[in-house]
Amino acid sequence: MTTEAPEKKEEQKKEESFLGLFVHNLWSANTVTVTILSIFLALLIGAILIVVSDSAVLSTFSYFTARPSDALNASWDLISRAYADLFKGAIFDPAAVQAWFNGTGDWKTALNPLSETLTYAAPLVFTGLSVALAFRGGLFNIGGQGQAVIGCLTAGVAGFAIGLPAGLHLVVALAAGLIGGALWGFVPGLLKARTGAHEVITTIMLNYTATLFLGWLILQSGVQDPDRTDAVSKTIESTAGLPALPQPLRVHLGIVLAVIVTAGVAWLVNRSSFGFELRAVGANPPAAKTAGMSVGGTYIKLMVVAGGLAGLGGAVQVLGTADRLTGQVAGNIGFDGLLVALLGRNKPWGTLFAAILYGGLRAGGNLMQVDVGVSLELVTVLQALIVIFIAAPALVKTIFQLRDARTARLGASMAKGW
């Protein structure tokens, strides 16, 4: 091989205009481009699903060769309406904003989509941070769901079982959620540190254990609503609820807490001594051990903090939007948090934005279901697809023929199996 060729290339590069360079870099497999294209691909596949599952539109395809415009128009119409709803439900509805400016509508209706987005996003920020933080320490916390369930449970019980003045009650209930989740995270952390039991296995198992435990607890006297026979708990006192904007807006203090906690986690990872430890342990446990760090101790602390974050997410869910415990109160926030962390590439602020994006999809999905009757499950599909494409940047790169570039790799340190 001669060494001339690369030099020439470099010269050429220098001669390229700034704009050329910009375009060059834009169409390369960098993190931003891959993320945007992943979302695009997911929406594309979602569109196909919408069409093939609509019998009315599908029937126009039966005479596609005769009159293709019918099929194409009908498809386009359905897809554009669905995705427009997704946008309107998540960010703003131009009509409502127009009405507000004209004075015919009120600001609440105009802001409602954003309020919904942030409402759905708030718990996801916490569960996402839980997973992202654990990742940085080399642990794959699949137990966010279980920790969030326990967080819901302890926060909920603290919310109706004790009477305290407003404010203090809220703090106590949030702390209860935090501690509950931390305890549920402590178990796999301890097992990992002491026996080497793989945290993926133990946390998966603890997820379902938590759900079953919640299912049992709700039916116990003292917890179950005495006026009901089904699995519903007493109502949480208003003193423990997270303050929200006036009805019908649902957005509550949780999202503010989420931003603060994100900043806290960012500081913890990058600037604190514990963060240094956990990053060292995550990147190379033997080297961390050789440098005098306690790997096991770091695992335990890390899982306690991660569990606490997920538990706080559960508490925000139950004190912010739900007003009582049910078997499904935690929804899917733990697993969604996993996706959010992956989309946010395990960075605290990235996780925050990813959570808001997923919250938006969820909020928009509600409108889409009501308005055009496209099932909300489509959102789950979109969420999963986005992460699949993000996780396999090589796939996106191949599809769009992107140039090579440094892509933020997705948890390269965790591909260790069990």
């Binding site: 091989m1 600037r271 604190s272 001594s273 963060g275 240094f276 430890e277 990053r279 060292a280 990147a283 190379n284 033997p286 080297a287 961390a288 051990k289 050789t290 440098a291 005098g292 760090m293 306690s294 340190s413």
Partner: protein, 507 residues
Amino acid sequence: MANDHIDITVEPGEVHALLGENGAGKSTLMNQLYGLLQPDEGEILVDGEPKVFRSPRDAIAAGIGMVHQHFMLVPVFTVAENIALGAEEVRGGPLGWLDRRRNKRDVLETSQRYGLPVDPDALVENLPVGAQQRVEIVKALTRDVDLLILDEPTAVLTPQETDELLAVMRSLADTGKSIVFITHKLREVKAIADRITVIRRGRTVVPSNHPAAAPNRTKGSVSPDTPTDELAALMVGRDVSLEVEKTPAEPGREVLKVSGLIVDDDRGVRAVDHVDLVVRSGEVLGIAGVQGNGQTELVEAIMGLREARAGAIELEEKSLTGRTTKQVLRAGVGYVPEDRSLDGVVKDFTVAENLVLDLYDRAPFGNSFALNPKAIAESARERVSQFDIRTPSSQSTVGTLSGGNQQKVVVAREMSRPLKLLIAAQPTRGVDVGSIEFIHNQIIHERDVGTAVLVVSSELDEVVGLADRIAVMYRGRILAIVSPDMPREEIGLLMAGVVTQEAEDTE
């Protein structure tokens, strides 16, 4: 680029040594020949016909076998299963029912024919390394190879086991098989090779007066009659001084005292067996021995990385047994671990972060709560220039640096705080010659300021060059403590577990 236009020709029945430093590109070349890596250009001819090896399958079909540096054996399989793998004897057509009896018979046959005793029913994970290597060789031989590549086969063997292996290689060559013997040990090359190819930085090198155009000589190879010092010079690119310049030691008080130490390895086998040793301030105690004779476990026990089963470790008369690694480090012990990339550095961390890997929670770099990025960066800039670490910036990740510079990061970290004891295990493994000299000088400098130094190395030259006293370790015991002036052959015998009269006298 690991290889740049290398030509090499191997004749039938010859032992062809491929000589070069660590990282010179020997293994890369052979992995290409074996189909594990694809060359960018050039061709491979077998019996005069060009071949393309897309995978080891093609290489095996062409009659090439390879014994890898890291054994390619499945630990939980038996010897027979390992040897059969990929070339199984089967019955039942498409069902592929294993014919274990025939597999076993094949193993025994080959092992008897070449005088390589193996037990077909033993589990590989229970075998000592020497036996595992025999299994690898038998595995290659059952596949009817014409060319056998041995990649650094002697790294894990005692001198005596090495001699046996060399004898096996010779007898294989006598049956007409070709052998490629990859090594960086000159003595072995001199002992066995029919022809030598020296590789440096991915290129073949020949002496300047080499008649490369002369007939009967393949381009790029040199004769085994070439003097040792000339071969060494070819290998490293300049005349090497194996001597480390230093003044006589001035030993002071006892700093490290180990007595009756017993340590088990991960499998629960005794690795360190009643070891006693003393390291004084201002002297270098070298531990010589073939890799895997308990040196690793000894050092790990001192560092608090491994639990000692019995015995005492004292640092200036204070017990270190049962202390955490952090406490040992804080007590004034510096530690250069033997496996740099595994234990020494965090490759995803910046140079600056790696330089405070054990001090991040100490003033001025931080406290138990928060870091002080400014102090960390400032100190990093100082260390980088002081220790001549070649890096674009102190904020570059360590993984992007060369092995030698990574090692300098480790050395800089460990030597930039006041030490009572420095433990350096394999301090120059996989390090370029320039950095070796620098690191050696740093170690001697540390000795000269009055630190007690313990150097562990499987390179006898390094131990002899650095140490003021040499402890030879064999099977977990210190067989003798000798002077570095002792003849190397004597030390070599000790490393093989043979205690001579002279050694006993010096003790």
